[in-house]
Symmetry: C2
Subunit: 622 residues, 2 copies
């Protein structure tokens, strides 16, 4: 793999005097390093970083005064922003090697990184945050312009429109929104997911000044910024910049997609090695072209000896889920699947292909989706509502409760649950979901550990009369759990509130759910005399079952892929105490106590005390 040191950026920026050529060169160098960073990390958002790269270059090099603020609301384009800031020497050069690593550059922006004023990555919050900054500045007598980059798919989120009116009423001339209008959201074309219609009319309808430009044409970009400043000084303005996802590199450009290709392949994740090499060469060639035609020597990238990060392997629970859902839905005609632009990540492609008439793509609009589910359930259908758990438990939190007060039966399926994968960072690590929905009346929270259990859970979702929150870890299932899952007949119906001893051992009993916790516990049990229990129920426990477990335990430790407050440990502890035993087993809970770190799985499990070694240590301590 190859990357460009900051010295090369210095040389190019110092050596090119033509304004647009300088911007072109800087963008090309930034894209080259962005690709390296994502490749080295093994994941990251290339498409969005590339579509925004020219806008970012123009903003950083020519538009922003020192005092001004720029941030990305979508946050997915963080690698591109990092690469540009490293190129300018505003972030340490060494960080180019540390994307998505512990203590490095998080997968989505975090305020602990210099020049990242806000934590973004959860969509649609940026304009509001910028407004808060503007109001604070006014109170404190500071003069500062605030620039917010948004995606276009992101504009499906309702919060954006909640934010627009107030900015007009406060005459926020300090605020400029730039829409990276690349036409593609997470899965596919925005127009196919939930078309935005006439975007200019949308913004204008809220009273915003609207400008438009080609987001890869520095001439047009410059004109748009100039008009914004000159013609609309006292008003908030949006610049809709038409861009190409993956733009600036034929290998990744959406314009290179085959006519029959519906999925854009470079939204997230690192490319395959051969694609990497092709793209790297394309990027270097285009960068060298600008550099050399401006009289400078060609670039000299450095080589990194390290191999790209190896991906963990193992079965995927969302994939197993998607297969099981199709099978169950073929029998249960009430089932409807709803998705919020994550069909590829939630395992829904088979359902979408097999049962398109019962599939509803809602776009990035979780509140709308969950409230729509009420309407479907009102007619006797059983909506299965999908998103990443980080979004699904939180963005439509009131809506989930509202549905419960109506007595609607809805199945919520939150994938990407828990602390792993840890590379995207805390906006995507759902470690608060059990707490946030666990008290909703009539809603059972269940977390299966392996493919067989996922199938049993889907059967349960179809047959129960309760609503269900299905918590699905997306990290690959480790081999220990695959073996366990095959052993403990996943075909047997799940019994609410009851767990299973999955590893016989001594009087220290470790209780947990899901592949991450059980995987580490089963590993820990190889070096300790531990009894391991799989309790997939996160807000229900059967007192009789628990009494049986307590009778054999000297000590019960609940280990959670969740904050230690508000989850399974609280549930089990309270139920244990309410048993009224004369001498209850000792009790302890292990889980996250701090905002989860970004990094590799091993790094992050270790740092939060959830690795097998650290668990073994805690569990063998007297």
């Amino acid at each position: 793999m190859q990357w460009l040191p900051t010295g090369e950026f210095d040389r190019v920026l110092g050596g090119i005097t033509d304004r647009h050529e300088r911007l072109r060169a800087f963008s090309a160098l930034s894209r080259f390093n962005t690709l390296y960073m994502v490749m080295k990390a093994g994941s990251g958002h290339l498409g969005s970083s590339f579509s925004a790269a020219d806008l970012v270059s123009r903003l950083l090099l020519d538009e922003l005064a020192d005092v001004d603020v720029l941030f990305s609301s979508k946050g997915h384009d963080a690698p591109g922003l990092y690469a540009a800031l490293i190129g300018l020497g505003r972030l340490e050069e060494d960080l180019v090697h540390r994307l998505r690593r512990l203590g490095g550059l998080p997968g989505h922006p975090d305020v602990r990184t210099p020049h990242m004023p806000f934590n973004t990555g959860s969509l649609g919050m940026g304009i509001s945050k910028a407004k808060g900054l503007v109001l604070a500045n006014r109170m404190l007598g500071l003069h500062q312009r605030v620039f917010v980059l948004t995606g276009d798919g992101e504009l499906q989120e309702g919060q954006n429109y909640e934010a627009l009116g107030g900015a007009v009423n406060a005459g926020m001339g300090e605020l400029t929104v730039i829409v990276d209008h690349n036409g593609i959201q997470s899965d596919t074309w925005v127009r196919d997911v939930n078309d935005l219609g006439d975007l200019e009319a949308r913004f204008a309808g809220f009273g915003w000044a609207v400008l438009r430009c080609d987001g890869h044409d520095f001439d047009q970009i410059g004109t748009a910024f100039r008009q914004r400043a000159e013609q609309y000084a006292g008003r908030p303005a949006v610049i809709i910049a038409d861009t190409v996802k993956g733009g600036g590199c034929p290998a990744f450009a959406a314009t290179s997609m085959a006519p029959d290709e519906w999925r854009y392949r470079f939204h997230s994740g690192a490319p395959a090695p051969e694609v990497y090499e092709r793209a790297r060469d394309e990027l270097l060639a285009s960068a060298d072209a600008v550099v050399t035609r401006n009289g400078l020597a060609a670039l000299t990238p450095r080589r990194s000896d390290e191999r790209p990060s190896a991906k963990a392997t193992g079965p995927s629970l969302p994939d197993a889920y998607g297969r099981a859902l199709v099978d169950v839905a073929l029998r249960d005609e009430r089932i409807v699947a709803m998705d919020a632009d994550l069909v590829l990540d939630t395992g829904l492609v088979p359902f979408m292909e097999r049962l398109p008439e019962r599939f509803i793509e809602c776009g990035i609009a979780e509140q709308d989706m969950v409230s729509m589910a009420s309407g479907l359930a009102a007619r006797g259908l059983v909506p299965f509502v999908h998103s990443f758990s980080c979004f699904l438990h939180a963005r439509p939190n009131e809506h989930i409760y509202n549905n419960a007060t109506e007595g609607r039966r809805v199945v919520y399926v939150g994938s990407l649950a828990g602390v792993l994968p840890a590379a995207p960072g805390h906006s995507h690590q759902a470690v608060r979901d059990v707490s946030a929905v666990g008290s909703v009346p009539g809603l059972v929270v269940v977390e299966p550990a392996g493919p067989q259990q996922v199938r049993a859970a889907v059967e349960y979702c179809s047959s129960t009369s309760d609503s269900v929150y299905l918590r699905l870890v997306s990290a690959p299932v480790p081999p220990e759990v695959v073996a366990m899952d095959a052993d403990t007949s996943g075909a047997a119906p799940l019994e609410v509130g009851r767990g299973t001893v999955v590893r016989e051992g001594g009087p220290t009993v470790a209780v947990g759910a899901g592949p991450v916790v059980l995987g580490q516990l089963l590993l820990a049990a190889e070096t300790t005399d531990l009894t391991v229990v799989n309790l997939p129920w996160l807000n229900r426990v059967d007192p009789d079952w628990l009494a049986g477990l307590a009778a054999r335990a000297e000590r019960i430790v609940v280990v959670e892929n969740h904050y230690t407050h508000g989850g399974q440990a609280d549930l089990v502890a309270r139920a244990l105490l309410e048993l009224g035993l004369a001498a209850p087993p000792r009790f302890h809970g292990v889980g996250l106590t701090e905002v989860p770190a970004c990094g590799t799985s091993d790094e992050v499990l270790f740092v939060h005390g959830l690795s097998a070694a650290r668990l073994a240590d805690v569990l063998t301590r007297p």
Copy 2:
């Protein structure tokens, strides 16, 4: 008080042939009964019921086919809708006396009432729910038009705009939104809170067909509906109906407001007796005018001997909070107050008047408000963010967490917390808030019981370095708690995680927080030998303090104004068990296990087992 039996509606509807006269008469009769219902209930939304009354009349009498669906998204106009349905014999006549009573008509719509297809009252969900119904109908081959009434203030909620695009893309000609555009939201004029700008342009910007009419002119209303059907068959359409809040009755009409009056007084709550009498006479006169000019005998209302419901009295915690906030903010210049259109209910009027430069009115846009707080906190200010707890913990749930991941210090103040007042119904009863935010890292949840403790809590919010969720009950503080509050020097700083014995007694120790629980426990203690502990901390408990309490307790019972899952009982139970006592006290939790009922305070505390008598029963049972 006076009301009109359904027979009078029958007589009038049967006796008037002119279409518009019939509608006028029906509206007038409905308004008369609406006033009676609200007066008898002692609370309810008159202004919004009256502004929507003519639209509702037209829809119910002339527009809707049997198969069609109408519901109100704002839900505040439920009394008007109920009155009309009772008048048509679609709801039982006896219910006219049972607004906001147990087993009667809830303060906001609930699906358990006939002709109420959805639970509304939490704003901005209606269009989404309607879309779900339309999609379900299409899947099931049903043909049905769906009409959704919204407020205009309600259009500040972002979810509305999340919903609009999808309806266009799906060509939802079945869907019609009617905006009851009365220009006033909860507190005051929409234009002063967060102006909507050109509302027609907003909807048109999303691709909706837009029609406009005078919402009190049946000619214009009829034209709008006809045009909607004839000209825009395959598209979703909105009818913006310009109305007068409190319209149809001079006593309540916003057009009667004095020029210097900023607050509309009849948004919620029953009028004073003399206002009632004036309005009743006005309404009867205008109804009789229509009836008699159409050749029918004057109306003969029935008298109800009952007095209007007496209001509970006692200090208001939001009022005490508002005074304390001003005092603390005069010393602590970092404090900024943010409000979501509930300045009158959250105690913020003194702050707004005294420190207007540090007051930010956000409108009904909780997500925008909470994300803006991040921007303010980023500049070192300390935002105090206000709404009803039912909305504040849930609508911006992800945003509260996002702020926490940034390490922002924000104080969230959720008033109207808990099960009382129970008259508005479950959309407004926040009994899940502790669970939903309790696991947010660095966020301390505290619930003071009396005015002195509220002041201490505000001091704590100013001096701590943590973020705080201040849970404020809005029901009047009962005398037992006022006395307790005066005794246990509220001026002393609160110590995190530690409670106070507020009533010495026997070895059964009841633990709780807030005026509702402590009020009932102190009452229960008058007939039982109970020790009562005030533990205002809902997600923190000090193990040393708890060990001291456990040493004197044979039994600990935690009583919660919250669902029994995910709140203080879980917290205390787990901490007790983790103390590792050889023989821990017996433990039990009492709280809500079902969606809270709507009714009077006494009815609802009893039915959920939280009344003093029922608590005494549980606490004395062996």
